[in-house]
Symmetry: C2
Subunit: 397 residues, 2 copies
């Protein structure tokens, strides 16, 4: 019997113009366009194997080794329904095609980063799910088409269908057919741009972004201004900054947009807070570092973690500063910042007299060094597949 | 020789629609109207004695027992110039009046609350200065007229010229002659409304409000929307809520406006933060307390301290909650909340299971219990004056 199976990985993306607010919550249509940078999946990715088989008695899903219910997850159901419908059409037109759309499937998905790190895994996860389904079903869709399906799993997932610099065009149509990801520049465009992800310790679980953004839509007067009067121009400016590889402009727009996203969270009633005192101190440190010219940009998603974008040449210095203020973190030096046993760079002159407070051990738990990366990858299932011969996960939690 | 002297006190006011941004920085004309509640000066006040004498060789000023330079303080100079000009006019019209405008003056001013508490003292201080000058010079001005002078010392000072509920009408004229305080309702209108001031410990000195607000005017796109589209309607709503003594409406507007003020601070570039993790936790606690109906309102000015407005009947419960989460504070029980040795009220049922974290000793340093109060008061200098026979402070720091 032929095994119908595909295995893929998909990257994480971190927005520099933020998505916050839906105009249609079931189709996941946003209230504004957004733009993100795709991070290298050598460091961070979701990996998914999907197998279709007549032996399977139902659709099943394992996420990080734990079986999850499919029917209770409307968004997952939508992604399966859409891709199967397309496969059904293909099979109707070409009777030579195997009848995959009618088979049950087993889905096994893993992130190579701990969920505890608080990094959004739904974007890479849904991008990987939809991309793997498209490989399994051999769908004749390009990445923008697939992004429309992935968007219905998790809005920001649509941007993980591409590498490099990716816009999510909000679109206008009620059916969402023009609300999709568009490649601005690929991962080779700006190889100098790197990122440090700072995982910040936080006792409190924040408001989920799904609930939070709709409360903002409902209650924040400032969000309406952001949507109408700020983001359209900011998208244009950001695309120009990326095309010109103008780091100071890219950085300022990134920081301003992160600030404004958290401002509309605060203008929500009751207010939503994602940043804590450690996040604020990272902003203060980067602001001080940028005093004589913009050399780094912070951005914060719906949690206290910071992502710092900077040109490669500044990274050793930025890491030296972060190490000084946030002792006791784990450093994932995947890009060999400190290669050949080199020590951390020195602090910029007088920096520690300008900001004197050093934070408690472990205030920042982990720092990951990464860079701009490519879009989803197809792997050989025989070698890399996550399911065993019986169609069950090789690894369970 | 006749001694020309006046001694007055003036109250603190805490805005419920915030002032943030000047359209004219030298005249201190605001970008939006604002509204505040005047607090009882039995608990918090500035007190000022001003004496005019031919024996004095120059104008001199002592603030909390420390001599300060007058000429280097443009705002103070403006208040002196304006009031002396009015006195000069009066003297020109009526030759029987003593020639006070030509005499040097000694000004001695004290706050009865520690500057370290981080409570804005410039509002009560400038209101008291201008009111005392008006008494000394016997100026024929009403409180709104005087507020125009006090405004030039510190914007929010204009609102401390009245007790009760006070609007600062932004005005339209370029000379600022219509930018003044207006009484909405006096201190007898809503005797049930009380306040708890929570003095929050903070390591970092925040951005000064003078510098901060102009950076917001210059860089925050959201401020423009607040000014034009949010505040005008909010002022109307707030005035209606006060007139109707509608606490839930008053409270929601107060909290929304505090949130939005801090949101535009965050939308500033680089961003300005006044609230810290303790401030945020107070918001979270009050939000939880309001879950089944709005029973308390928080508001935060340009610092981490919270002011909580609530009807008298809720105060014991609110204090019980604050005591539970913030041990180790000093309680200024000036309104005898716990009178006759009564113990603190019990926590609302299950409250501590909904929010479990208790904060470190001294996270909130002090809690003051106060209420709505009256406007500036004239005291008998002989009994209450701050200057001795030589015209020097009775108390030096």
């Amino acid at each position: 019997m032929t095994v119908f199976e595909a295995t893929c990985t998909a990257p994480v993306n971190i927005a520099v113009v933020k998505y916050w607010g839906k105009r249609d919550t079931s189709l996941i249509l946003p209230t504004n366009s957004s733009l993100s940078v795709t991070l290298n999946q050598d460091q961070l990715h979701s990996k998914t194997t999907i197998r279709a088989s007549a032996d399977f008695t139902s659709d099943r899903l394992w996420l990080n080794g734990i079986e999850e219910s499919i029917p209770s997850n409307n968004r997952l159901v939508a992604c399966l329904r859409e891709t199967r419908a397309l496969r059904t059409e293909m099979e109707a037109k070409d009777s030579a095609l195997p009848k995959l759309a009618q088979l049950n499937i087993h889905i096994c998905s893993e992130n190579n980063f701990p969920t505890a790190a608080g990094l959004a895994s739904s974007a890479s996860g849904y991008a990987c799910l939809v991309y793997t389904l498209s490989q399994l079903f051999q769908l004749p869709l390009d990445h923008s088409d697939l992004s429309i399906v992935a968007r219905q799993g998790s809005g920001s997932a649509c941007r993980s269908l591409f590498g490099g610099f990716v816009a999510w065009d909000m679109g206008e149509k009620a059916d969402g057919s023009d609300s999709k990801a568009v490649l601005i520049e690929d991962e080779k465009h700006w190889p100098d741009l790197q990122a440090l992800i700072c995982v910040v310790s936080d006792a409190k679980k924040g408001t989920s972004s799904t609930a939070g953004m709709q409360l903002t839509v409902k209650t924040s007067p400032l969000l309406q201004h952001r949507i109408k009067d700020v983001v359209p121009k900011r998208m244009e400016d950001m695309i120009a900054a990326i095309k010109e590889k103008d780091f100071p402009r890219f950085a300022e727009l990134t920081m301003r947009d992160s600030n404004q996203f958290h401002a509309v969270c605060l203008d929500t009633y009751p207010p939503i807070f994602y940043m804590n005192d450690i996040s604020r101190s990272i902003i203060r440190i980067i602001t001080e570092y940028n005093k004589d010219g913009v050399k780094a940009a912070y951005t914060f998603d719906a949690g206290p973690n910071a992502v710092i974008y900077a040109p490669k040449e500044n990274m050793a210095e930025i890491y030296a500063i972060l190490s000084h203020y946030f002792p006791g973190h784990v450093f994932d030096d995947s890009l060999s910042l400190l290669k050949d046993g080199a020590s951390v760079a020195a602090l910029p002159e007088n920096f520690d007299t300008r900001i004197s407070t050093v934070f408690a051990e472990g205030s920042v738990k982990q720092i990951l060094h990464t860079e701009v990366g490519d879009g989803p990858r197809v792997l050989a299932s025989q070698e890399h597949g996550l399911l065993n011969a019986e169609g069950l996960p090789k690894r369970l939690a």
